[in-house]
């Protein structure tokens, strides 16, 4: 189980958090085409590389944040940042 660096709670088991996958910018709802909107909802780049992902510290501080993780090594890099919209997945 991944050890996730929560900015407020410290290292935490990933089961204590909710994982939202790749962090996405929310398109402008007034002008987004169906393709743009559904890319935001459903499509992920899934690179074998550093990736910005969204997390929610469900059993701890209850803050949303993003983290950069290398999908090949599961190493976390940057300190957490306030989250981008996580989109669609309530």
């Amino acid at each position: 189980m991944l050890l996730v660096p929560c900015p407020n709670c410290g290292p935490r088991n990933s089961a204590d958090l909710r994982y939202f996958g790749e962090s996405h910018e929310r398109p402008n709802p007034a002008s987004a085409s169906p393709h743009e909107w559904r890319s935001y909802l459903y499509l992920e780049d899934n690179p074998a590389d550093w990736l910005k992902e969204s997390w929610f510290c469900r059993s701890g501080c209850r803050r949303y944040f993003t983290l950069e993780r290398h999908t090949g090594t599961n190493e976390f890099r940057s300190p957490p940042m306030p989250g981008n919209k996580v989109g669609g997945k309530a």
Binding site: M1, L2, L3, P7, N13, P29, P79, A90
Partner: protein
């Protein structure tokens, strides 16, 4: 006859504590410290089981945890490893997989038709015709190996523990102990985990010098502040060194699963002795050198009278010394290093009587000892991503990868003398401790906001360990004859060759096709021989063939240990004690236990529709929203408009996710200028709290809203029925409850039954005139009993969840998640007036705009032609005369009010117009007709009653 020897210097049995136990119906004796295996052999019981497929008599091969032949039934405990489990006084032990008895097994007839049961036999034989599968299953189940499960066995107590050590050392042999000692000396918190009942590994069955080293290391490690777990196994290594440890030695729990987050894992399991493949290698009397040495030195058991020893290494040579010391005649030493070989173990069905050598001579013997080399149990390294590499010179696999937080030491890493091995282990312990400190610093650095990092980042400790030498060893896997490769699965080397010829010549395919390595030994004994036989069949090297990947668990783990203690809280309202005392039948709804009914849900419906009923609706999700920007949040979460909600009013709304699918619904009331109370569905309470926070924290951090969950802070009671106003007015005196002063969809705060700071609102899921009271939870029971006492003459009665479900269905109110599913978008609900596309933005708006232009399934009220027919929920609605699905029933009940069956269902647009005749497929296959109704409400569609 006893085979117990006089006292041996290293014996682990306590002769002052004799034990008695039952084996196969007879009484036998043992000493404290005996395993079942050593006790049986001391009593000259050489046959312990029958093999899985051919039911051949089997004796002990390794006489330890990994023995493939030693599975027994102990009382109600099946598949016990008799080479490991200690004898307890009064134990009842029975052989498994025998019928009618161990000595005369009818199924041994399988052996006579042995070639009939070759690789893939079951796949090929029991495939056609498919109609026979149920029969085949019953027949095969009779032949399935394993013990007997007693379904009435009481549940054992299993436990869980979480641990955060710096270093976990897997393996408590000399290398593991030395690594633990040196890691602890640098200040690391160390857990040392040993599979066997005591520390020591192979030193436990060694010579005087081994015993001296064992005493020295044991003394040091016990004084080093190391947490020592014996009879415990590291069964798995997962991401970031999340290690699973099964502790079988807990004083109270049958087993305890320890989830340890190790900063560094040291893998020091030692080596496992490998059996040799030749004809007759599974006859009772054929043993590995380690088995013989354990039996003599640890348990003082004489393993035979006249032995042939086939040796290719120092351990085999040491076995000769041990055998001769205790008076076993070593009739012949067959030295593989001199090119000598054994070919066939001969004898009757039940025992070895002679051994044929490659030079043609036949030696009489009742014991054949083989010492042909080692398997490196690299499982934990595999789990960390290592792919071991074969080294031909020493005829075994070695770890290949450098994994920064998983380090190998001991026999798995190489050979050498004791000093070299201990020096390597000590260096490994130091490296582990230093890397653990660096890992801790790295982890802390990423979360410096939570706890500031101490000191500068340490330099990453490089691996400067001197690598261990690799002793040359003859490559001994199979003789010139064929024999058993996988004892626990009864797989012969001929089966492997045949399977390879059939095309199953990749090691992973071969494994699955023949089941070699898939039995309870899990490859510890048979993997390398399987690979070697396949390499021979393919005409390639072992390295070219490669091995199967070892996955968790390292050793089999019981379901009880995995289940452990369940940490699942159950939620109840403050009224629960009353419900229990008054005959409520409970129902589990999410985490909540609540009353389903109090005996007769239909009567509860009738009383509520006639007089007045009260229901405990505490699980209803409640969020207290405060701040100037609450209307912005509400506008964003709900599909309808919230900017103009006056103080004292309540509004209903639907929430959708960004994909337009219905997420939740409920009402929100404005309590004061900047304070609102939102209710969600009971099951959606946690989700909606997160959903609101999601938008506030990520997309709109500038909005000033504070969200507080108050679900359990208030006890919620809905008072419903034509006499509800009369009842509530008896308990409330500072709020005007009159129909003009307190209208439908309004909220008031006031004092109820003397309890201040209660909220009440007029809404009605049941369709009746209703007052929903939200009472500070400490006073919930008081208000509940006050309602019952004050309303006695009005006919007040409690009603449960089932009555509420019937009444809401009579009213045509849908339940999110029951009448909607993961594809139901808001326009399907028939409430398009609540979807306001002229708002700038709200969750799911673009999808809803597109959905409004599509023709989507509709939620409609449905009544069956025959009022007595109640279709099961989820019954399909089909086009008449076909199986073409047009929709399904989402809710159905018998309505006590209308005295007929009522339903809600989702149907395609073509079947949605009022009056459409539908065909419903009942669960028993009958087809009945039904009709789409004009209104979603079956009862009081105009809503006269709830507005009353």
């Amino acid at each position: 006859m006893t085979r117990r020897l006089p006292a041996q210097a290293g014996e682990v049995i306590n002769r002052s504590t004799p034990l008695s136990f039952k084996w196969d119906g007879g009484n036998l004796s043992a000493f404290e410290g005996d395993t079942i295996a050593s006790a049986l052999l001391a009593n000259d019981k050489r046959i312990v089981s029958r093999s899985m497929k051919y039911h051949r008599p089997r004796g002990y091969l390794t006489a330890d945890f990994w023995d493939p032949n030693g599975f027994v039934q102990v009382g109600d405990d099946p598949n016990v490893r008799s080479g490991h489990r200690l004898v307890e006084n009064g134990m009842t032990i029975d052989p498994q997989n025998v019928w009618p008895s161990l000595d005369y097994d009818m199924k041994a007839a399988n052996g006579l038709v042995g070639r009939f049961l070759t690789a893939g036999f079951y796949y090929k034989t029991f495939i056609k015709p498919q109609a026979m599968w149920p029969v085949y299953e019953k027949v095969l189940a009779r032949f399935a190996p394993g013990g007997t499960v007693d379904l009435d066995t009481p549940h054992g107590y299993h436990d869980k523990r979480y641990a955060h050590p710096d270093v976990v050392v897997a393996g408590g042999g000399p290398a593991g102990m030395a690594a633990a000692i040196s890691a602890a000396s640098l200040g690391a918190r160390v857990m040392l985990v040993e599979h066997e009942h005591a520390l020591g590994g192979h030193l436990r069955w060694g010579n005087a010098e081994d015993r001296r080293l064992l005493d020295e290391l044991r003394g040091k490690v016990e004084g080093a502040g190391v947490e020592i777990l014996t009879n415990s196994t590291v069964t798995g290594r997962y991401e970031d060194n999340w290690t699973a440890i099964v502790q079988r030695s807990h004083p109270i729990a049958v087993e305890r699963l320890i989830k340890a987050r190790a900063k560094v894992l040291v893998v020091a399991p030692g080596l496992i002795e490998r059996p040799y493949v030749f004809t007759g290698n599974d006859k009772p009397g054929v043993m590995l050198s380690g088995a013989v040495r354990r039996l003599i030195n640890m348990y003082a058991v004489k393993p035979g009278e006249r032995a042939v020893v086939f040796t290719g290494n120092a351990d085999g040579d040491a076995a000769i010394v041990d055998l001769e010391r205790v008076g076993v005649t070593v009739a012949r030493v067959v030295d593989a290093r001199q090119g000598e070989n054994i070919v066939v173990a001969k004898g009757g069905a039940k025992a070895l009587d002679s051994v044929e050598l490659s030079d043609g001579s036949v030696i009489e013997a009742d014991l054949l000892v083989t010492a042909v080399g080692w398997t490196a149990p690299t499982s934990l390294l595999n789990m960390a991503g290592d792919r071991p590499v074969y080294h031909a010179g020493s005829a075994r696999f070695y770890p290949s990868a450098e994994i920064h937080n998983v380090l190998a030491t001991g026999g798995i890493a190489g050979d050498g003398d004791a000093d070299q091995l201990l020096a390597h282990a000590e260096a490994t312990g130091r490296l582990a401790a230093n890397r653990a400190a660096a890992v801790a610093h790295r982890v802390q650095d990423l979360t410096a906001r939570a706890l500031p990092v101490q000191g500068p980042e340490p330099t990453w400790p490089e691996d400067d360990r001197q690598s261990l030498p690799r002793d040359s060893h003859p490559a001994l896997f199979r003789s010139t004859t064929h024999g058993i490769v996988d004892y626990s699965e009864d797989v012969d080397s001929k089966d492997l060759v045949a399977a390879a010829k059939e095309g199953y010549d990749s090691v992973e395919l071969l494994k699955r096709y023949t089941t070699a390595t898939m039995g309870p030994s899990q490859g510890k004994l048979e993997t390398v021989n399987t690979v070697a036989v396949l390499a021979e069949a393919r005409g390639e090297t072992i390295q070219e063939v490669g091995t199967t990947v070892w996955r968790p668990p390292y050793a089999p783990i019981t379901l009880g240990a995995l289940g452990g203690r369940v940490f699942e809280p159950v939620r109840v309202s403050s009224i629960q004690s009353w419900h229990e005392a008054n005959g409520a039948t409970p129902i589990l709804a999410g985490a909540w236990v609540r009353p389903d009914h109090y005996g007769d849900p239909a009567a509860e419906v009738t009383n509520t529709r006639t007089n007045v009923g009260i229901i405990d609706v505490t699980p209803l999700g409640k969020l207290d929203l405060q701040g100037p920007d609450v209307p912005k949040l509400l506008n964003h979460l709900y599909t309808n408009k919230w900017s103009q909600l006056p103080v004292g009013s309540v509004r209903y709304g639907i929430m959708c996710a960004e994909d337009g699918v219905v997420l939740d619904d409920g009402v929100t009331g404005r309590l004061s200028d900047n304070r609102y109370l939102m209710t969600t569905t009971s099951s959606g309470a946690a989700t909606i709290w997160e959903w609101a926070e999601n938008w506030l924290q990520t997309e709109h951090p500038d909005w000033q809203v504070h969200v507080t969950p108050v679900t359990s802070g208030f006890t919620s009671i809905n008072v419903a029925g034509p006499k509800s106003r009369a009842l509530v007015s008896r308990l409330v005196d500072n709020v005007d409850l009159g129909p003009d002063a307190f209208d439908y969809m309004q909220v008031r705060s006031g004092t109820v039954a003397g309890v201040p700071n209660c909220f009440m609102w007029r809404i009605g899921f049941t369709g009746e005139l209703s007052f929903e009271l939200h009472v500070p939870s400490g006073h919930g029971l008081h208000v509940w009993t006050a309602l019952l006492e004050m309303g006695n003459d009005l006919g007040v009665k409690p009603f449960g969840l089932e009555a509420q479900r019937i009444m809401r269905l009579e009213k045509g109110h849908f339940i999110v998640g029951q009448d909607t599913d993961g594809l139901t978008k808001a326009p399907s609900l028939g409430m398009n007036g609540l979807i306001k596309l002229d708002k700038d933005d709200f969750a799911g708006k673009p999808e809803l705009a597109w959905a409004m232009e599509q023709s989507l399934p509709s939620l409609v009220a449905i009544q069956t032609t025959d009022p007595a027919e109640v279709p099961t929920e989820a019954s399909q609605i089909v086009r008449a005369g076909t199986n073409e699905i047009l929709g399904r029933i989402t809710s159905s009940r018998m309505s006590p009010t209308l005295d007929r069956s009522i339903c809600l269902g989702q149907v395609l647009p073509e079947a949605a117009p009022a009056g459409t005749e539908l065909t419903i497929v009942m669960i028993d296959g009958r087809r009945i007709t039904a009709r789409v109704m004009e209104h979603q409400a079956h009862f009081d569609p105009e809503g006269q009653r709830l507005r009353g």
